[in-house]
């Protein structure tokens, strides 16, 4: 840790001394290249759609795919990513101590984490907010109906605080019961130990979809308690790594915008329809040098894991069992809030 801090501050110092240094040199990326693997965050169990383990004992999910995309961009091979299982509580200390290079773990961007915890966040790659789900037979239609009820929540998450705030603002008396694990929470709710259940909207939708017994007997209330931007978290002091992560995410979005998929990326690169695509896929130089990588990193990444839409549909959307609507997580041009910075 100490060495790394010194390295990071040295990097900052040299960067200051030579402000016109042409291309980036991120200590994190350098360490990844030397190690030959990229260390990403997994989960101590699974988190539906984002981090799961398949029948072959391999990790999969939206967050895992983003890690594989990053690994491809840096090392040229998605299988060089190494997923370190981490609990929620352990994720930030693990990042600080260097057990992982980045946290891509359904983690919300909050001021406390950004400042006090000494983290830096990428542009959001997913939007989801806290919502309530309630047993349908209770006749609850909005959060005001929760008066006097018991509400289950996952301990130590931002949602706990958001829900308490929200219920106080609409003046609803309630009892909050917190559980350490999502599976316990789910079991408590299904066993009628609580009237309603506050959690991250996508998680509720996933839960309802996988609850075979009676998906229709649960209502997800329309009250949107928050809209939390989900970002990748990195250590403070390595701005170039943040730049890279941002442009990695941007490249996935631009690829979707321009209709570049894992299927057609080779054709597009052979015959780029416009200069933007030519630059993105490294046909014209510029993408690589400015980030200290190969010019073709985005092309290789899209060929391996696909664009943002492909990643989304594979893990949460149409092709997954969850069938989660894109909603907010669509491109701005399709009614969502995702957009990429300008590629010049």
């Amino acid at each position: 840790m100490i060495n790394r801090t010194i390295l990071a501050s040295l990097a900052v110092a040299t960067g200051l001394a030579l402000p016109s240094a042409g291309f980036a040199e991120s200590p994190t990326i350098k360490a990844i290249e030397e190690r030959g693997t990229m260390l990403c965050s997994g989960h101590n169990g699974s988190y539906f759609g984002f981090v799961e383990v398949n029948d072959k004992n391999e990790w999969k999910g939206l967050d895992i795919d983003l890690c594989r995309a990053m690994t491809t961009a840096i090392l040229g091979d998605p299988d060089k990513s190494q997923i370190v299982p981490l609990s929620w509580a352990q994720r930030f200390p693990a990042l600080q101590s260097g057990d992982v290079d980045i946290i891509i773990k359904a983690t919300g961007w909050t001021m406390g984490r950004d400042t006090e915890l000494g983290l830096q966040f990428s542009i959001p790659y997913f939007f989801g907010g806290a919502q309530f789900m309630a047993h349908g037979d209770l006749g609850i239609t909005e959060a005001k109906d929760l008066e006097g009820g018991t509400i289950c929540v996952e301990a130590g998450t931002t949602i706990e605080r958001i829900a308490a705030n929200y219920l106080k603002s609409i003046d609803v008396e309630h009892t909050m019961v917190s559980y350490e694990k999502a599976s316990e929470l789910r079991a408590a709710y299904l066993a009628n130990r609580c009237d309603s259940f506050v959690a991250w909207g996508p998680f509720l939708a996933v839960l309802r979809a996988t609850e075979l017994e009676n998906p229709d007997s649960h209502v997800i209330l329309n009250d949107q308690l928050s809209n939390e931007p989900i970002s990748a978290a990195m250590r403070q002091g390595d701005e170039d790594f943040v730049d890279f992560t941002n442009w990695m995410l941007a490249a996935l979005l631009i690829a979707e915008e321009e209709g570049i998929t894992s299927q057609n990326v080779a054709d597009m690169a052979a015959n780029p329809p416009n200069p933007k695509i030519a630059r993105l896929l490294g046909v014209e130089p510029g993408m690589g040098e400015r980030l200290g990588l190969r010019d073709t990193w985005a092309r290789e990444m899209i060929a391996e894991v696909g664009n943002y839409a492909e990643i989304y549909h594979r893990n949460l959307g149409e092709e997954s069992p969850y069938k989660l609507e894109r909603g907010l997580n669509n491109l701005w041009s399709h009614g969502g809030v995702l957009y990429a910075p300008q590629l010049d």
Binding site: G45, P85, P93
Partner: protein
């Protein structure tokens, strides 16, 4: 209890005790009917209405267990994130650990040299198979170890490290040298007053922040060491109870016979100490086995964490009860055997007392 078979069941006594008055008879009948009903419910869920084949998921319903989930996910539960093609290594390694424990349960092996050889061979086999690079197999780093294989390894290493350390601490605490005694008391009291979770979290997460990288070592060894120390402190107190049960006269008699400290300890005191401390020791060991599940919070993929992952996909999410029942069965098999072994030891030691 095992002797209460149908062959020698005392019907007369049963009748006298359970059907003495009409009220007694009524209560007996109701209680037994409820028990039979509960048993029937459990069996029809677990066996009669259950779906057993992996491709029978579609038939899984509300009334019966869906054992398909175990069929499809048992390798995840047993071996965690260990690479799929290398599971034979994990299987053999598990067997090596189980064999080591079973063999060292037989009284014939209770000699320091034999035990040392057995445990070194057992652990070396486990490590060489799991890690693999020394045998020319694909290297699998410790962060990919998981499932039952990891739980067994954690448990047996903790007990293996903790037992001698516990004995050492107990002896130090009885020392006549104030510094040694004070040090042992301090260590024991300090560590016992910290929650296990905090101790493990410190070992796994905080130490790498404090120490330079080359001193860090692998996370798994830090955790085993911390857990072992925690176990040792409790074991030291258990043994202290055993020591206190031995009259001081025995030490003095030993000294009068001209025996050295180690001779008195090894031939007179310790055998009695272990006998007195046996029930609490078995307790401590059983609790430690269950406590290994705490490592889930520092990101180890032990058998419980892999069970969580096993029902953590859309396909298998509704069948978490089946997965947890399976894991409970695993725990039960190991802990029940441990308990029975404790009973056997107690009987065996009674012979010594006669």
């Amino acid at each position: 209890m095992a002797s209460m078979t149908f062959a020698n069941f005392d019907w007369g006594r049963f009748k006298r005790r359970s059907f003495a008055t009409p009220l007694d008879s009524g209560i007996t009948v109701v209680v037994y009917l409820v028990l039979v009903w509960l048993l029937w419910q459990a069996l029809s869920w677990a066996l009669f209405n259950a779906v057993w084949t992996a491709d029978g998921v579609d038939q899984c319903g509300k009334d019966g267990a869906c054992w398909s989930v175990i069929h499809a996910r048992h390798r995840l539960i047993l071996f965690g994130l260990y690479p799929y093609e290398e599971h034979w290594r994990s299987t053999l390694a598990c067997l090596a650990i189980i064999a080591t424990v079973v063999i060292s349960c037989f009284p014939q092996t209770w000699q320091p040299k034999r035990l040392a050889v057995i445990w070194i061979v057992g652990f070396a086999t486990y490590y060489l198979l799991m890690e693999g690079s020394l045998l020319g197999l694909t290297q699998v780093t410790t962060d990919q170890w998981g499932g039952l294989a990891l739980t067994l390894f954690l448990f047996s290493s903790v007990v293996l490290i903790g037992m001698p350390m516990g004995l050492g601490l107990a002896l130090m605490r009885r020392s006549e040298m104030p510094v040694v005694r004070g040090f042992a008391s301090l260590v024991i009291d300090l560590i016992r007053s910290l929650p296990l979770l905090t101790t493990l979290f410190t070992a796994a997460v905080v130490i790498p922040i404090l120490l330079p990288t080359w001193l860090e070592g692998d996370k798994i060894w830090r955790v085993i060491l911390a857990f072992g120390l925690f176990f040792a402190c409790y074991q030291a107190e258990v043994l202290r109870g055993g020591f206190q049960a031995i009259p001081k006269g025995q030490f003095e008699a030993g000294k009068a016979l001209g025996l050295t400290y180690w001779q008195i300890l090894g031939r007179i005191v310790l055998p009695q100490v272990f006998r007195h401390a046996l029930p609490s020791t078995v307790n401590n060991v059983v609790v430690t086995f269950k406590e290994t599940a705490i490592v889930i919070i520092i990101g180890f993929f032990d058998v419980l964490a892999s069970a969580n992952a096993a029902f953590g996909t859309a396909e298998w999410a509704p069948y978490y009860i089946e997965v947890l029942a399976f894991v409970s069965l695993i725990y039960w098999v190991f802990l029940f055997s441990l308990g029975q072994y404790g009973e056997y030891l107690k009987k065996r030691m009674k012979v010594a007392q006669r």
